[in-house]
């Protein structure tokens, strides 16, 4: 197998109001079907050790996770090198039921935005209420970042995980860098100047 590389190889921005890091590739599996079906629950338990996430929520279990994407779509997370095995496991559980599991790992780029002003940086780019009272851990938000689709959730504390299409990774990295440039803190979500 060829060596997996992230969209921009190493990309890390520090010295601004938040740190932006392009992460190593992680395994991502798009699952579509009847989310309420018994075989779906069984498949999730087996593949990621988790139950069906609530609407617009994400659950993480170590290096695996599952995110609610739409009424008939989930995004499964797992180590990059375990995607094939996980899909085999899912497909077995789905049997002949009309359901889809497909490897989208190489179609995505993953960023981490961290630091006291991470909420401000995202709020500059997405039409989302990112106040700590409204956007809380366990939520996933699919939205746009300036002109491209993206999804993000809180990893822990003030650290966000963001997923976008690999083809726009450079655009998103540039956006995040500009939004995080030194001296640009709006002091809106983060009370400390």
């Amino acid at each position: 197998m060829s060596e997996a590389v992230s969209a921009l190889k190493a990309a890390e921005f520090t010295g601004g109001i938040a740190e932006v890091t392009l992460m190593d590739p992680i395994g991502m599996i798009s699952v579509r079907g009847d989310l309420t079906a018994a075989y779906m629950k069984k498949a999730l338990k087996k593949a990621v050790g988790l139950g069906l996430p609530d609407t617009r929520s994400v659950q993480i279990n170590g290096d695996r996770g599952v995110a609610w994407m739409s009424p008939d779509e989930l995004l499964l997370l797992c180590p990059y090198d375990q995607v094939s095995d996980t899909i085999d496991m899912l497909t077995k559980c789905f049997g002949s039921n009309h359901t889809l599991a497909v490897n989208v790992s190489d179609a995505r780029a993953v960023f981490r935005i961290s630091g006291a002003h991470s909420r401000d940086v995202l709020a500059k780019l997405a039409p989302v209420d990112l106040s700590p009272a409204t956007f809380t851990p366990g939520m996933i938000r699919r939205t746009r970042l300036a002109q491209v689709p993206a999804a993000f959730w809180i990893e822990e504390g003030d650290s966000f995980r963001l997923v976008c299409f690999r083809s726009v990774a450079l655009y998103v990295y540039d956006l995040l860098k500009i939004a995080a440039q030194p001296g640009s803190a709006p002091v809106f979500y983060s009370a400390k100047p």
Binding site: T55, R56, M69, S70, P71, E73, P127, V128, R141, R142, T143, R144, P149
Partner: protein, 109 residues
Amino acid sequence: MLTLTCPNCGITAEETEFHAGGEAHLKRFGPGSSDTEFEQYLFMRDNPKGVHFERWRHVYGCGKWFHAARDTMTLEVFGTYTAQTSTVPQDIINKIMDRRPDWQASTAP
């Protein structure tokens, strides 16, 4: 600014997260229809000042289609509802009647 709530995922967001899909509840006229019917279906659209029914897609969110009832002048949204209907649900009609007592409910698709 137009603010919509997607009934598929429950997100309330401003219009740039959505994509407008034009007038809702059109009746399709295809093969076998008259030229006039086909022309009406293909080209002729209502353009009211006031209550209007539209299709929208949550394009940057869950990706699903839905319907919206809104006022084209004030941008007031009376309600959003499932895309899986060819008529306006009664609860949406009631909401419009509450806000626009002089609106003719019989004109609703």
